[in-house]
Symmetry: D2
């Protein structure tokens, strides 16, 4: 799944490039699209994040349009991994890449739960 990223002026730091922490927000935007559109989930996520990794590959300067690709790269009993590539939309240069581990979570019972089968199928298709 590929999504254009609507960058904001406030995303850029004193060097004129995207602040490092914002990349986790970009990953979150990709997750929101994958979760709501790809998996039919709610905008208020039903999972928790266990881990996140970002590699900063090249600079994303202000005025350069970005896009993010998200793919499911592993599915376990209760958890799955999403991998991300952020590219410059004009020339497909890789700006950053990374991954996050999600764990299915029941916010009412405050407990991790297995991934439902229907969701598993949709995750696998991403």
């Amino acid at each position: 799944m590929r999504i254009p990223l609507a960058a904001r002026y406030a995303d850029y730091d004193t060097k004129g490039h995207v602040n490092n922490a914002v990349f986790l927000t970009y990953f979150e935007m990709a997750r929101a699209a994958a979760w709501v559109e790809g998996c039919g989930g709610s905008a208020d996520f039903s999972f928790i994040l266990a881990e996140a990794t970002v590699k900063f590959v090249s600079e994303a300067m202000i005025g350069q349009a970005l896009e993010v690709e998200i793919r499911t790269t592993e599915i376990r009993t209760k958890a799955w991994i999403w991998s991300y590539i952020i590219r410059d939309a004009s020339d497909q240069r890789i700006v950053a890449e990374g991954s996050t581990v999600q764990v299915m979570y029941d916010y009412e019972r405050h407990a991790t739960v297995p991934i439902p089968d229907a969701l598993r199928a949709r995750l696998a298709a991403l």
Copy 2:
């Protein structure tokens, strides 16, 4: 000029609605569109902000698509006012409105400057 707002999960606070400070960021997103697309300006703004006002009219809850309208409502020698209305995209309910005062600025000379005529015409058309 009307622009759909790409909200982010991190925009929402513990009450499930858009954090108050984020509305100034939404105004900034509208300004970026007005400046770059409407006025032919650079993504790295050539003006400074002198004042900003926001009225919080109704709640913007997570999952509700928003849009922002920006209009030029006053043009002076060196400054102009942009006014904003943020609406729920589904029913046009007003979520917030406000305005900002911009002053034309030469970042190399560190001085305010008059609005060039060509820009004045484009601002008036917004």
Copy 3:
């Protein structure tokens, strides 16, 4: 009440100064201190924001320590106004000033409510 502001690198924009929207976050930090320490309230606020205004007076460049002063400037039946001055901590130069209107709110009943007397006294003392 005066509070030192812990600025963050991400608060600064491509011009090297504090992004405009961040000032509303600085006001919010002052409100949190005024509410929790000054009024004995919960970190999860019991009021809503009706309006916010900021005047950007001078630049806050990276590396300059800031502080914020918050005072109650008006108390009505259900609402009150807090006014803010943000200063450079080294020379007391004013960086920004503004105000916000708060309305007492019952988040369970989803309704505005009168300011309790005990709170009114504490607000008046701020």
Copy 4:
């Protein structure tokens, strides 16, 4: 080096806990302290970030004071690793941990450079 973290209301998300991307900002606050106070560097960093990893260990709920510990865990020719532990200040429960890889960078020449000896000694002492 241990630093108390000044959390902001806007750091918390709809679940009432610190948004995942904010932890990279908390790491950045620790880096700023380590760089400016620990290494005598400028508030406008002289390095780039190559990689960042966060493990989300337990929830940081609103109202809970946090602190961050930063230590140098590896020093190479041009790069070094800082490791972070974020704890609940009241009971020392670990909330998150992670690391970042920094590369010494000359922003004028747009090139990576070796770590100067004086800096190397200060990094080693952190």
